[in-house]
Symmetry: C2
Subunit: 543 residues, 2 copies
């Protein structure tokens, strides 16, 4: 940094510099940027603290609420970020970070994302995005075709049609699910005679007009929490989300779903949507979509599939059949930032019928004029970045067969890990992997045996202790910082269907090796021994 730059902001002209003069390649930021380009993993490795800091300690570095009155030099600020933010961020691209759905990114994404940011397009309208608008429509079209497999003529007719849309690009799966249910609600409670429709007159008048007592959204007990959130936002209320029990494989029980539909009809409650889950967040299982489609057809309601996480499986010809029936859904959510290896901020919802989105169409005088192809007239969000370019590039560079390799490999790895867990006497596999997600826990052989032969009360007590042990191991492992698995609580049939704490792993990182998986189990075994209260108590109660 030159001396003249050090006197920055003394004048207006000098402030212009930050808009006109890029960082010199030999500046701190320039050097760091090169390091990131050259080896992100290495760069992060060098800067990650060996010892985890407590959140309360980290918060001290972020405690000032005043906006600085003095400018900081870019180079100094970069050192600060490395020291206080990067070193204390989560190494989501690490092959031993197998706890959540956020995974590694291909390298070509990094320079492309800088290009995306530099272009700073706003996809709400063509005037601020131009070619990005047809590009996004094409990406949505490709995902639509991945789900619905319509013919070329279908896409020729609808993909670029001004008054239609094959879906919406969103910041994530929550907005995608919300958009799907918003469309479903507005189509169900549409204009009718004097009534101008729910979009205009609201839910209160809509339900009065249609003379029904309420609306319901039916989803398995494993449905994502964004559905209750959506029901709240849409004015239906969280209680309108009716949780249907699952079978042993965490799939919705179709018979119970059908029975509930019949019951609701008698109560004069309209079904807004049946929601299938294609890859539950907690266990990775896929609902019987064809059976659900039959029920949705019988009760003439919207059928949405939340495939935010599992939707990418459609790219694998080998595993696509697991999602059979998805093509019968009225709407489908897929997150590109999950198993499509695109950075955070890329959710999508596709609609079978290109006219569905007319139910949420809106216009304004300065943009989104009627007949325009502005994407903003059919999206929940307004201004949005050109993330679609990263999905577009990934689809071209990786291609469908490349994605198939990645998906198949992840599932194979999960099956391998399940075997590994089964082979270890002191671990208990809780849910088998259908996709690349499974749950398990540390459970000493002797306790496992005892659990199968004791009274219900004793079982509850032991499982309570096991829950504490699982939590202890999970937290300690995270704090050690070498690897990370997440934890959740799910009902387990053989344990009286009580909620049981389990480790949850998602094996989507292509770099996670078999030896890393073995190491993770070894570390958990060691950590279990460090629990000087729970483990001895467990063992003493199991003899």
């Amino acid at each position: 940094m030159t001396v003249s730059k050090r006197t920055a902001f003394a004048t207006e002209e000098s402030l212009h510099r930050i808009f006109t003069i890029p960082e010199a390649p030999d500046s701190t930021l320039g050097r760091i940027e090169q390091e990131i380009s050259q080896n992100l993993a290495g760069f992060l490795g060098e800067h990650i603290a060996a010892q985890e800091q407590a959140l309360s300690e980290i918060e001290k570095d972020f405690s000032c609420s005043a906006i600085p009155e003095q400018p900081t030099f870019v180079s100094d600020h970069m050192h600060h970020l490395l020291d206080k933010v990067v070193s204390q961020s989560v190494h989501t691209s690490s092959p031993s970070f197998i706890g959540h759905m956020t995974s590694a990114l291909p390298y070509f994404i990094l320079p492309l994302s800088k290009l995306m940011v530099g272009l700073n397009q706003n996809l709400v309208k063509i005037e601020t995005s131009k070619a990005f608008t047809p590009l996004e429509r094409q990406v949505v079209g490709m995902l639509h075709r991945l789900v619905y497999q319509q013919k070329d003529v279908f896409y020729q007719e609808w993909m670029h049609s001004a008054n239609h849309s094959l879906g919406a690009f969103c910041s994530g799966g929550t907005v995608a699910n919300l958009t799907a249910l918003w469309v479903a609600r507005n189509n169900l409670l549409k204009a009718d005679g004097e009534f101008k429709g729910v979009a205009r007159e609201g839910l209160y008048k809509a339900l009065k007009h249609y003379k029904c007592e309420g609306l319901a959204i039916l989803v398995s007990a494993r449905g994502h929490y964004s559905l209750k959130k959506s029901a709240d936002i849409l004015g239906l209320g969280q209680d309108s989300v009716i949780s249907i029990p699952t079978d042993n494989n965490n799939k919705i029980d179709s018979q119970k779903l059908r029975a509930k539909c019949e019951e609701l009809a008698k109560q004069n409650i309209r079904i807004l949507s049946i929601v299938g889950v294609a890859g539950t967040t907690e266990t990775g299982n896929i609902d019987p979509l064809n059976e659900m489609a039959d029920i949705a057809q019988a009760f003439q309601c919207h059928f949405h599939v939340d495939a935010a996480w599992g939707g990418a499986t459609l790219l694998s010809n080998k595993y696509r059949p697991l999602l059979a029936g998805i093509e019968r859904a009225d709407s489908v959510t897929i997150d590109a930032h999950k198993q499509m290896y695109v950075p955070m901020g890329a959710g999508l919802v596709v609609f079978k019928n290109p006219s569905s989105v007319a139910a949420i169409e809106h216009h304004a005088e300065y943009i989104l004029r009627k007949g325009s192809k502005d994407l903003g007239s059919h999206t929940l969000e307004g201004s949005r970045p050109g993330m679609a370019m990263l999905v577009y590039a990934s689809l071209h560079v990786i291609s469908r067969p490349g994605y198939e390799l990645l998906i198949n490999q992840s599932i194979d790895k999960a099956k391998y890990f399940a075997e590994l867990i089964n082979q270890q006497a002191d671990f208990e596999l809780v849910t088998e992997p259908e996709l690349c997600l499974l749950t398990y826990r540390y459970n000493p052989k002797i306790v496992q045996y005892y659990l199968g032969h004791c009274s219900n009360e004793e079982q509850l007590e032991l499982n309570n202790l096991l829950d504490k042990l699982t939590k202890f191991i999970q937290k300690r492992q995270r704090e050690n910082g070498r690897s990370f698995v997440s934890r959740t609580r799910i009902e387990v049939e053989k344990y009286q269907n009580k909620k049981t704490l389990v480790f949850r792993v998602v094996l989507a990182n292509p770099l996670t090796s078999k030896s890393i998986l073995a190491d993770i189990l070894s570390e958990q075994l060691e950590l279990a021994q460090e629990s000087h209260t729970f483990l001895p108590e467990l063992l003493s109660k199991s003899t």
Copy 2:
């Protein structure tokens, strides 16, 4: 690209490469990345097409709906992107692009955004974001303090409190406004006796319980379209947004607002929120916020201020008084991606009361557990990127006084441009700039005179022709590609309050010079002459 890379994807191992081996600095992508770092403007300049292509032509390049079955080499794909996307994107950072709120970015943002993408944090929970969580809370706290100016102790108590939140980071202003109204709705229709609250039971039962006929959102006729969209989503219906007329300066008429509030009370319609606009999208004016706060207080309703665009003005000590009264709002929307020069995807809403967000709190078993500091328990969105880091860095590197210089300079420039327009006989300034936004049109001196002396019918006819001329000039100027102003339609008092088509300019780019502004007017004058139908007709009718 090496030969071994050219056989990519033949095996699983080779697919790993895209996750492990960065692009070589001498690859096409590496080279392009360096060029972008060194000079984005220059890079874009070289790649921008001289001649605008029709959208229908561009669409041909994005017409294939099939996901590629063959991988493309990164380098080849990059050439494709340059050729088909970058060259046909909109040059939003150009100093002569003065049509929308999307502006230039400081250079240090580009490498930082690559770091952000590379870290790929997910802000929904601490387990995937760690230090980014307190960082985001600090950024929200800083913006809260910018608006509400509470003391240090306030922020010490609330900024990092697990069960409170000073606001929510959102993908943009639409989600921010929606979040504010969602919070307002849930707090208004809260649990009461047997009634479990609108969040649980929905709007239908809520309105029945509270025995009211409907809800209303009151905003000036210049309110942003996202408010009607929000009312639709929230189940209130677009018609619940009541448009209050504005005065000559496009500010809400407080007397009419108060009268409407009284009228609604008599109709047993509850006011959900009064919404003040601080920087209208179309004219840049600020509502009388103190007067509105008085009315909101009198009617005991939520007071939201949509300062998505104008909120950054608070960073200027000189112009801050224009927003006097904003500190009395219950919630305020500010977009960092507008006048805070952060890339697309950074909206914020702040709440005066740190407990307000409890109304939208939600939990799940695998994340957002009760008592955790996970940000996702109080946001509409789920998974979100670490955009807050870019706001954080900008606040530190630019600092408040730096922002003040930028804001003041933009407003001064708008005042200068207004003078320039006033000096030119054949232009008509339609709305004076209060912030850095103004509207005007080309209108020959003789026509201007005639408009002031003709009958109402003749005036309508002339304005109709002028509308066509304005549209012609605006489209032609955009197609020429040297500069861009936008257009909108606003009611103009002196023309019988009829909607009139005007040029709209936003002068937020620090690099827009006085000579560029003069050139834009010259070009518009020339383009007017090219209109061989509208202009002669106008002139002949005005004599």
